[in-house]
């Protein structure tokens, strides 16, 4: 059977779709499927909301088309099928001295998904976004199979990078990997006592990889306290790595109740000695800390959760602080929140990054949390910031249109690549991305 009808969800599990899914294992099967008509491609559905959902329609699950096609050790260019996972690439190539230039916080994201959201990593301030390291990609659009590059087909490239799968099905891509110094991470962790210190440290960080973990439940003088992690690839001795664990059932509601989270966060914060420390970690532990617990999204119970992520320009840092104050005051935030400094690097019309600070916080899917998030979204808009399509499930189309000034240009290119609108997803419809509201 090629198509199966199923209920499926994004990573946050708050939005669900029912529709037909095909999961081809060979390019010839995929080509035959697409000859029947275009349908949006999806990866590992690590986008939290509805970017990878097409309720009532069809989607093509690309995860079985995941082979390395070729590698040039002179240039570090890897040719890979779009369903390959970033963590697999890292695991296979790190021992040979290479890493994907940009890695999101989960190694389970596919190359196609990383292109579709133009993802960023802990090194965005240094190397920019994922698609800035894509040398070329092979796209099956309404016009057949085309080779897309940032220079020769710049328009189509800008519409495809961060383009949410709307220009076609990405079959494969050539990625420029980055050389690395050793096969482990040397990580410096230090406690940060509050907001102002955090921003100052992020601004001053000279490290290749920098990320801030924030205790989004801390208030008052402790507002914005957390841990700054700075990492470099290097060599050293590794502690033994534990087995991956799985969350076998949906957790009850109290699992992430306010007091539990506050206690957890305090313990997490104190884990790092007051004077800081330097530790050696396996590459996967530093980049993909949560992948060690399979299906951790089930910790939020059946109703799922939302992640709010925004970026605001540097000058709007006070607005971001005000948002954090609201979040901390609400008592709704989940364990860890992430604060990063972003550089200006972005490759597509709808790419998320802008120079500034980005904050990401998880919330259980409850009405108070949804209300809080809606408020935060409005504040993001007034702070001239933007929301991230990989995380969003609650935004309004009009807000998003104001946040993405290149939306009109993108629309035009997408209309050419997919004139029949066969590639629209639930997210695209919810936010009216392809048609003016």
């Amino acid at each position: 059977m090629l198509w199966k009808t199923a209920d499926y969800a994004g990573w946050g599990r708050a939005l669900v779709a029912r529709g037909e899914i095909a999961r081809p294992e060979r390019q010839s099967t995929l080509a035959a499927l697409l000859a029947e008509g275009l349908a949006p491609a999806i990866g590992m559905r690590r986008s939290y909301g509805d970017a990878a959902l097409n309720g009532g329609g069809r989607v093509i699950d690309m995860t079985r088309l995941d082979r390395f096609r070729g590698f040039d050790p002179e240039t570090g260019i890897l040719d890979v099928e779009a369903g390959a996972r970033i963590g697999d690439i890292a695991a296979a190539f790190a021992p040979r001295g290479w890493l994907p230039a940009v890695m999101p916080g989960t190694g389970l994201a596919t190359v196609g998904g990383c292109i579709g959201q133009d993802v960023h990593g802990k090194n965005h301030h240094n190397v920019g976004s994922f698609c800035q390291h894509v040398v070329s990609l092979t796209l099956r659009s309404a016009r057949g199979v085309v080779e897309v590059t940032p220079d020769r087909t710049a328009d189509l490239f800008r519409a495809t990078a961060g383009g949410l799968g709307q220009t076609g099905v990405i079959l494969s891509a050539r990625l420029r990997l980055l050389p690395r110094r050793g096969d482990v991470m040397v990580v410096t962790e230090r406690r940060v006592e509050g907001w102002d210190e955090f921003l100052a440290l992020l601004d001053a960080s000279q490290a290749t990889y920098t990320v801030g973990w924030i205790d989004a439940t801390a208030r008052g003088a402790a507002l914005g306290r957390g841990i700054l992690e700075e990492g470099e690839t290097g060599s050293g001795l590794l502690p033994k790595r534990g087995q991956a664990r799985r969350v076998p059932f949906d957790a009850p509601r109290f699992a992430l109740a306010g007091p539990v989270v506050r206690a957890f966060n305090t313990a997490y914060y104190r884990r790092v000695p007051e004077t800081g420390r330097t530790v050696v970690k396996p590459i996967a532990d530093f980049f993909f800390p949560l992948d060690k617990i399979h299906d951790w999204n089930r910790l939020y119970g059946k109703r799922g959760f939302h992640q709010f992520q925004c970026v605001v320009p540097v000058a709007e840092a006070p607005a971001l602080r005000a948002m954090l104050e609201e979040i901390a005051g609400s008592g709704l935030a989940s364990p860890l929140a992430v604060l990063k400094r972003m550089g200006p690097g972005r490759a597509g019309h709808l790419s998320f990054p802008m120079e500034g600070y980005t904050l990401a916080v998880d919330f259980p899917n409850r009405s108070e949390a949804r209300e809080l998030i809606r408020g935060l979204e409005s504040e993001t808009l007034s702070a001239r910031g933007r929301l991230y399509f990989a995380k969003d499930s609650l935004a309004r189309g009009t807000d998003v249109a104001a946040m993405y000034p290149e939306l009109a240009a993108w629309r035009k290119l997408v209309a050419r690549a997919d004139p029949e609108g066969a590639l629209a997803t639930d997210l695209v419809r919810r936010l009216s991305l392809r048609s003016a509201t």
């Binding site: 059977m1 294992e25 060979r26 079985r64 082979r67 099928e81």
Partner: protein, 245 residues
């Protein structure tokens, strides 16, 4: 030791997972099947994951005239020659009922083709005094059921063949592992109703490799299928013939 694996039916998801794992250990892989373009992609993938050598070779279980070339290619490699057989086909029983001629193809793909190939390979394993054959049979071969008994009977015949081959190769230092997978998450089972406890292909590949290392004879994968099939085999025929499972 220089190891080479001939992998028949290499385009299947289980075979791909297996090929990658032996590649990571530095073995050479001869990837045999019908979709040459797909096999060429897999060969590149295996090389990049550490295979000493990886080549795509044409293999059609229904065309035995092509078998000798594969065996000759394997013979050119030094050291231990192993084979893993993942071929088999399972048209819907309804299709076979409508067109009984399909029975021949199922049996050729799942039993007679692989058996003939392994029969041609056996002297090479005997001559080298080492080598393992992994034969993928199926829990469907443990008892004929209304839903897929043509496929089941072919796999049962293949399992019996493997048992005899084990008897033969053991004397010469070789070994045969019979693998009986339950439901595995592949294109073959995608969208089929009534599946439960579906295993990932990578999990099956891990079980197979562990069985090869420990020289196990017959494994069920995931392991609990041994108990499920124990029960199913023990249902009295008088009762079983009326059941629809």
């Amino acid at each position: 030791m220089n190891r080479t694996w001939i992998i028949l039916g290499a385009t299947s998801a289980m075979a791909r997972a297996f090929a990658r794992k032996v590649s990571q250990e530095g073995a050479g892989v001869l990837l045999a099947g019908r979709d040459m373009e797909d096999l060429a992609t897999l060969a590149a993938d295996c090389r990049l994951r550490g295979a000493r050598m990886a080549e795509a070779l044409a293999f059609d279980a229904r065309a035995p005239e092509g078998f000798a070339a594969i065996i000759a290619r394997a013979e050119a490699e030094e050291g231990e020659i192993n084979a893993a057989v993942f071929v088999g086909s399972m048209p819907e029983q309804g299709a076979t009922d409508a067109d009984p001629a399909l029975v021949d193809g199922v049996i050729a793909d799942s039993h007679t083709g692989p058996a003939r190939f392994l029969h041609m390979l056996a002297p090479l394993i005997e001559a080298r005094g080492t080598g393992t054959v992994v034969g993928v049979a199926s829990v469907a071969g443990d008892r004929g059921r209304i839903g897929n008994y043509v496929y089941g009977s072919a796999k049962a015949g293949f399992a019996t063949y493997l048992s005899g081959l084990r008897n033969r190769l053991t004397r010469a230092g070789g070994h045969v592992v019979t693998v009986k997978p339950g439901f595995v998450d592949t294109a073959m089972t995608w969208g089929l109703p009534g599946l439960f406890l579906v295993a990932a292909p990578g999990h099956v590949a891990d079980d197979i490799l562990a069985a090869v290392a420990k020289r196990r004879n017959v494994i069920y994968t995931p392991f609990f299928w041994r108990y499920i099939m124990l029960i199913i085999r023990h249902i009295p025929e008088a009762l079983f013939k009326k059941m629809k499972i």
